[in-house]
């Protein structure tokens, strides 16, 4: 069978539904996500009233399964198809946190609502230099690195993963419990406008790896008044390479939005068509099914 389905999903920023787009895992909105989705968040949410459970927010169908192999309870299943999204079984999970520590995408966290009182304990991995300490305050951040607020560190453990990975358990209000993806021990000022500008001005960088287009070229082309992403792509070839814009389309839309004064929504999306990655013609003809 062709393996296009597993690896070929390109969402290109259309973040409706089960977003598995090229956005690197944007957090779903807390409430609405409870309706289900992979890993069954609704069940995890219920079970977390009785015990700590793993919640998985893995969206990109990448070849990866450490979460499955780390779990001694068989509570996470990726299965034969290594690109499939992991599915968790909150009943089988004992909240050991091994999956949280090993996931290279920081896509798993533990949720524990036993304490009640509108508060939840969320356990996330931490790999920065500073020492998180129980009893101190830390900043909870969401999947985009935006600060949600402060919470008290309840516990710090060094469970599995690489030697440097620590698991930090933070007490947060239930409303944000499903949005927390990381902790920060101090404030980071990179959001300050001048700093971002300074960083941007630091030099040219590749925007589109496949077609080798650098930022200044995009800026120049965008400056010609293109009103749609499609036009920008035709004019510059940006995003038209092998990878079909998996890595560049989002930054491009933002750049073009800034230049054209339109919103990213107005600019539209690319229109990737199958096959979504280089495929040998013989495979399409049914001749050779090796995944080369």
């Amino acid at each position: 069978m062709l393996r296009l389905r597993k690896t070929g999903t390109v969402d290109m920023g259309r973040s409706s539904g089960k977003g598995k787009g090229a956005d690197g895992g944007r957090p779903r909105e807390g409430g609405e996500s409870l309706a289900g989705g992979h890993g069954d968040w609704a069940r995890a949410w219920e079970v977390s009233r009785r015990k700590a459970v793993a919640v998985i927010d893995c969206r990109q169908e990448i070849p990866c399964n450490p979460c499955e192999t780390a779990c001694s309870k068989g509570a996470i299943r990726v299965g034969e198809d290594i690109c499939a999204l992991p599915v968790s079984d909150p009943e089988a999970c004992d909240g050991c946190g091994r999956c949280v520590a090993v996931c290279p995408g920081m896509a798993v966290f533990l949720l524990d609502r036993r304490a009640g009182g509108g508060m939840a304990a969320v356990t996330v991995p931490y790999e920065m230099g500073e020492e998180p300490r129980a009893g101190e305050e830390a900043r909870a951040v969401d999947g985009e690195g935006k600060e949600l607020g402060k919470g008290k560190i309840l516990k710090v453990t060094a469970a599995g993963g690489t030697a440097a990975t620590k698991l930090v358990t933070l007490e947060v209000p239930e409303e944000w419990a499903l949005k927390v993806r990381g902790v920060r021990l101090r404030e980071i000022f990179i959001e300050e406008a001048e700093e971002v500008e300074g960083y941007r001005g630091a030099g040219d960088c590749i925007v589109c790896r496949c077609e080798e287009i650098v930022r200044s070229e995009v800026e120049e082309t965008a400056g010609h008044g293109f009103r749609s992403l499609a036009a920008l792509r035709r004019a510059s070839r940006v995003g038209l390479g092998y990878c079909q814009g998996r890595f560049c389309l989002e930054p491009l839309r933002r750049e073009l939005a800034e230049k054209s004064g339109r919103t990213v929504e107005e600019l539209g999306f690319g229109s990737p068509r199958p096959p979504l990655r280089p495929v040998r013609l013989s495979r399409l003809g049914g001749g050779d099914v090796r995944d080369t």
């Binding site: 690896t7 990448i62 070849p63 790896r209 080798e212 092998y242 990878c243 890595f247 280089p278 080369t292």
Partner: protein, 94 residues
């Protein structure tokens, strides 16, 4: 094939020891080879970037087949891996 067993692959003719089951890109990395191809427009050295089969930075010619993503292709004993268009940065290529 037993996972972890030593196998030999040939990278631009050079003998490289790899572990059965690992991706070609991992074997190259372990052997100190960081360059998988040279970009067409600027001729820059490129190497694995995403390591999960999405970006195509790691494509090489494998057993005569062009544009194979080495990060998601497991090594096989005797496999021939070649830099597309040839190595331009000397025989070690690292």
């Amino acid at each position: 094939m037993v996972a972890g067993e030593e196998v030999t692959i040939f990278v631009d003719g050079r003998r490289v020891t790899a572990r059965a089951g690992e991706p070609v890109a991992a074997a190259l990395y372990a052997a100190g080879i960081r360059t998988t191809r040279f970009s067409r427009r600027r001729g820059e050295a490129r190497g694995p970037f995403c390591m999960v089969g999405r970006c195509t930075e790691c494509v090489m010619t494998v057993d005569g087949v062009e544009n194979v993503r080495t990060c998601t292709t497991p090594v096989r004993d005797g496999m021939r891996v070649e830099t597309p268009g040839g190595r331009r940065h000397g025989p070690s290529g690292a």
